[in-house]
Every structure is written in C-alpha cells, then in structure tokens.
C-alpha cells in the first residue's frame, strides 16, 4: 500500500482532503435543506456517509483521468474538480448549470475536469469507461485511466460483467470502483448476491482487485493510488471495492423501512468526516483550524446557493429542444 505517513506529513494535502470531505457533506446536507424548503424540483440521490469514497478516489487520480460518476455522484464530481456553482445551478435546474439544466443531479458532467456523469442506468457506465480507456490506449496516452463508479447493486448487472471481460481481454486502463454501501436502494447485498465478497467478481476475468475501508479517506487514497499505478504501468484494469454506508436515504422518497435506526446510528459514529477530523487533530491540526475549514466550506456552499438561486431559468420551445437533441 502507498505511504499513508507521506500523506499525514503533507499538511497542504491533509487540509485539502478535509476541505473536500466537509464540502461534499455540506453540499448534500444543503440539498436536503433545499428540498425541505420546497426549492428543488425532481429527485436526487444523496451520499451522506460516503464522502471518503469520492474524495479519496478522485484525489488519487490525475487531472487527465476520466471519471464516470454514479447516480450518487455529487461527491465524486466535486472531488474531481467540477465547479460547485455550476453544480448547484444544475441541481436547481438553471441555464447556468453544468448541463444547462438539461441533465440534473443524476447526469452532472464537467468535461473540463474530465467528469462524465452517466448515472441513470445502473452499470451502463462500465462499458463506456472501457471505450474511453480504449481511446487512451489507441492514442498512446499511457498515463491516463478511466475510473468508473458504481454501487454494490450494479455488480449484478450484465453490463458490468461484460465490461470486466472486455477490459481484461483488451487490456484497458480502467479503474472499476465499487462503492459498496450495503444496499441496492432497499435491497441488502445479502439478498442480491450469493457471495458477499465482491472482490471475487474480478477473479474469473483475471482482474486484480483491491478492498478498502471506504470510510477511511486515507486508506482509500492510498489504495486507489496503488491501483492506479498498477493500471497505468501494466495497462490493465483493476477493481476496487470500497466499503461504506449511506446514512442518508436512497432518494427523497426513502423512509428507511429496510434498515434499523440502530444500524444507521452505528454508521453515523463511523462517518468519514468525523473520523478524518480525529486524524487531523492527532496530527497537529488544531480544532480552530478545523473550525476555520468548516466555516470556509459553509461559505462556499452559501455562495453557490446564492449564485444558483439568482441564475435565470432556461427557456425552451418543443422545436428548440428537438434541435438540441443533435450536435451540429
């Protein structure tokens, strides 16, 4: 495993990780607030509790790497460098949004940061990631990977298995990142698969797999760094299973009938933001410094919401929408 001590000694990196964990957490919490205030239209999938997977993974990637985020991908998208104002404006359905209000929460894209949100159909991004990696390979772009996020539920999708096979047989630089939060919407993993050890899914394809505590951001960062190194040097895919938990509901309609309050409370105690705060404090950061980060991130969210709320709504005609369906 890559050197965690090296990360602990890098104050700037530690600060940036803390900033992003807090930013992602606050982003999701604010969206929930906006819903409760009746300011948000449609649906969204929040990832409260899963912050370390998106942040730890995307921080270990390079700017040129492509990310296909999942339907629960706000954190992944933010951590890869997408503009928070454009994201908030998108979620509020505005013309200034990342996708000009055409995509919404589930499809946020930020091509300038190499994020291609494609989350609406579970597992469908995995073959697409293979094609991205194929283009890197064909063009001789050796230090570039396609990282695709999907949940434990997606591991039962045929598209994922087909993509594993294609990436393996064509030796494509794909990082398959499974955020195992234990549930496919309401269905627990044990009801969905016969063998809960998801790393075994990679074995028949000859794909190397990694497993990590997905609530420990430093372990995620170190594991993904190592896996990425393997993928670019060996020009082969890798599979990473990041174990985590979503303390928020699946979507706004979720009333948590499939799990107990005790289970949620147990995971709230293990949540990655609090865990990393403790590590920060144990490594020379002061509580004042953490509070300052907290305040800065809150301001970023406030600014993004204020900006998004003042942005004009998009305008469309049926004919105009029809034209937009096609590129020139």
């Amino acid at each position: 495993m890559a050197d965690i001590q090296g990360i602990l000694d890098d104050n700037a990196l530690m600060t940036r990780i803390m900033e992003y964990l807090m930013l992602v957490r606050k982003f999701e919490e604010r969206i929930l607030d906006l819903y409760e205030q009746g300011k948000l239209y449609g649906t969204t999938h929040l990832g409260v509790g899963e912050e370390a997977t998106g942040v730890g993974t995307c921080f270990a990637l390079k700017p040129q790497d492509c990310v296909l985020s999942s339907h629960r991908g706000h954190g992944q998208t933010l951590a890869k460098g997408a503009d928070i104002k454009a994201m908030m404006a998108e979620i509020l359905g505005k013309e200034a949004g990342a996708n000009r209000g055409r995509g919404g929460s589930m499809h946020i894209a930020a091509p300038a940061s190499n994020v291609y949100g494609m989350g609406g159909i579970i597992g469908a991004s995995c073959p697409i990631a293979c094609g991205m990696a194929l283009s890197f390979k064909m063009r001789g772009e050796q230090d570039r990977v396609a990282a695709v996020f999907f949940g434990d539920g997606a591991t039962s999708e045929g598209a994922v298995h087909e993509a594993f096979n294609l990436a393996a047989v064509w030796q494509l630089p794909v990082l398959f990142v499974c955020t195992n939060n234990g549930y496919g919407m309401s269905t627990p993993l044990r009801k969905a698969v016969n063998d809960m050890d998801l790393t075994k899914r990679a074995i028949p394809f000859g794909i190397r797999s990694y497993e990590v505590d997905g609530n420990d951001v430093l372990s995620v960062y170190a594991t993904v760094s190592e896996a990425r190194e393997y993928v670019v040097t060996r020009q082969r895919p890798a599979f990473i299973v990041e174990h985590t938990y979503r303390t928020s509901g699946h979507s706004k309609s979720d009333v948590n009938r499939y799990r107990t309050q005790e289970e949620i409370a147990e995971w709230l105690d293990k949540n990655p933001v609090a865990r990393f705060s403790k590590i920060m404090l144990a490594n020379g950061f002061s509580s004042d410094e953490l509070e300052a980060i907290d305040a800065r991130q809150s301001s970023l969210i406030d600014e993004a919401v204020a900006y998004a709320e003042t942005c004009p709504d998009p305008v469309a005609t049926p004919e105009g929408l029809g034209m937009e369906a096609y590129a020139e």
Binding site: A124, N165, G322
Partner: protein
C-alpha cells in the same frame, strides 16, 4: 444527379458491400480516429463480407474483433466517441440491438442533450437489416422505427451501392450517433459507383424514378420491389414516381410532399411491420401538409405483417410487401 448523368460519368459497377467497404477504407486512411469494431469483422471478413481484408491493411487495433458482448462493445464505442474517436461498430444483425439497447437509446442518444451540449457522440452503428433470406424471426427484422422514435439518433438506410457509399461517408463524419441499416438482401446487388469519395448528405430523399400518376414513398429493399412494380405498371400505362427516403432521421419531408402534390396519389411501402411503422409517420405528415388538398385518393400503406418473420420459404413472402400487393394498393388509388 440523375441516373443518366451517373451513367455518363462513371461506368464502374460494384456491389453494395464493396461500396460500403470503399468508404470504410477511405475514411480510415483519411482519419486516424476512425476505427471498426464488431463481431467477426477481422479474418472472417464480417458475416456479410463488408470488412473483407480490411484487417490486413489496418491491423487488429483498428479492425477490432470483439467478444460476443454487444453491450460491452457498443458501450465501448460510445465511450471512445465521447473521447473524440469516430468508431464504426458493426452489429451482425440489427436484431442484436435489443441486447445493447440501453447503450444505444440511453447512452449514445442522450449524452449530447443531457450534458447540455458539452459532449458529442460521433458514432456509427452499422447493422444488417431485413428479411427474405430464410434467417427466421431473430435475424430478419426491420427495426428502424424503434430507432426513429429515440431523439438523438439519426437513422439511415441506403437502397443502392451508390447511396451506400455516399451516405456512409456522411454518417462517419456526422457528430451524432447514426444507425446505419444495411439491407442484407442488397449486399450483393451491383450498381454504378464512382471510385472517388463523395458525400450524400443525411436528410435528403432521392427521386429514384420520375412519374406522374402515383408516388411510391419507400426505402431500403422495398425500393427494388417498387421499381419492379413500376416497370410492370408502365406497360399498362400507369406512371409511378419512386421516392427513396434514404434518411429516415432526419427526414426530408419536402421532397415527399412535392412528389405527392405532383402525382396526387400516394402509396407508402416498407418491409417493417405496418402497424405503428414508419409509414404512419409519413402518412400523417402528408395529411398534415398542403399536399392533403392535392390528394385524389386516400393515402395507402403497404408493409410487413404484424408477426414474427416465419422461416419456411413457403411462408416468408407473406410477411413482406410483394409487387402484387404493391400493385393492388396502387390500383386502389387510381
């Protein structure tokens, strides 16, 4: 360009399959981002021989043989297209679209729109279409209308070697996913085709035969059937005009309307199931246009049976329009 002009300038005849191969080869020589992927398109030459010997010139990286995993390789084609490549994927039979339909209808078709125009998917999916070969229910369908109903897809189906060559070039250079339906009964038909590359723009219908009494609006293999019917009726003093739609999306409705206004009668012919078929769209568009006031008879449609395609040679013809059925429909308008 009329058929006569073509004959004067270019006398070379090649098959529909060869015409397709000429464009694939020329575009791959011209543009490094163009590459092929599909099942058995390498040393096997493709199930219908379209990619014959191309692997010798371009190698296995650009003539990429895939596992039997349509979702994986059509999805990979989408991903490569998002990254600026111009993949041309082959589906051996258009019936296999069902296997990878999510990648076609949700991923390829929607990426440009749902990302607010920030990305493009310059992808061609070539697929053999249609019946008449005894290949039965899962290798004979005409599924163009499934694709036409999905915004974001373009849908093209050439009826001649000349059109095949020029339309494929435009499809490859288009910045959208194009479903390019090749008529399997036409692969070995021949026609006059120039040696050099040329583009036939998508969205232009072609009057394949001029006439004055009735407009036959058709595409694909049925252009041939209509031509046989028209030739027979000519001997009975009935003059048929044949409009080959060629590009189903985008649709050139103006050429169709102009033809119907001229002949005042219209018969729409396609091989696909008549029920909820593409002909219904054309009929509705004519009825909704100024051509309506010119009509001397109701618009007639001739299409395939609303059934799976049967296997037996004794049964199969009943599933498709025949010259006799087309003639009967024409006579009802006269």
């Amino acid at each position: 360009m009329t058929a006569i002009d073509r004959e004067d300038k270019f006398m070379r005849e090649i098959t529909y399959a060869e015409a397709l191969r000429e464009t694939l080869t020329a575009e791959m020589r011209r543009d490094e981002t163009v590459f092929l992927l599909g099942e058995d398109i390498g040393v096997y030459n493709g199930a219908f021989g379209v990619t014959k010997d191309m692997i010798s010139e371009f190698g296995s990286a650009r003539v990429r043989e895939t596992p039997i995993a349509e979702t994986a390789y059509i999805g990979a084609a989408v991903g490569a297209a998002l990254m600026g490549m111009r993949p041309v994927a082959e589906l051996m039979f258009s019936d296999f679209m069902s296997v990878c339909w999510d990648q076609i209808m949700n991923q390829a078709a929607k990426a440009h729109f749902m990302h607010g125009g920030a990305v493009q998917v310059p992808l061609v999916i070539r697929a053999s279409s249609g019946g008449g070969t005894g290949a039965a229910a899962e290798h004979s369908q005409s599924l163009e209308n499934l694709c036409c109903h999905i915004p974001g897809l373009k849908v093209v189906t050439p009826s001649t070697p000349y059109d095949a060559k020029g339309l494929l070039l435009s499809a490859i250079r288009d910045n959208n996913p194009v479903i390019f339906l090749e008529q399997k009964k036409l692969y070995q038909t021949t026609g006059i085709v120039p040696e050099e590359s040329y583009a036939i723009p998508l969205g232009l219908a072609d009057v394949k035969r001029e006439g004055s009494d009735v407009s036959l609006i058709t595409y694909g293999r049925m252009v041939q059937m209509c031509a046989m019917t028209a030739e027979k009726l000519r001997q009975n003093g009935i003059s048929c005009e044949i409009v080959d739609v060629r590009s189903l999306v985008p649709l050139d409705i103006q050429t169709i309307i102009a033809s119907v206004k001229k002949t005042r009668r219209c018969v729409i012919v396609h091989e696909a199931s008549l029920f909820s078929g593409y002909g219904a769209e054309i009929a509705a568009r004519i009825a909704d246009s100024e051509a309506f006031y010119f009509l001397d008879a109701p618009i007639k449609r001739v299409g395939g049976s609303h059934s799976p395609i049967p296997f037996s040679a004794a049964l199969e013809p009943a599933a498709f329009p025949t010259p006799a059925r087309i003639e009967a429909a024409i006579r009802e308008t006269l």
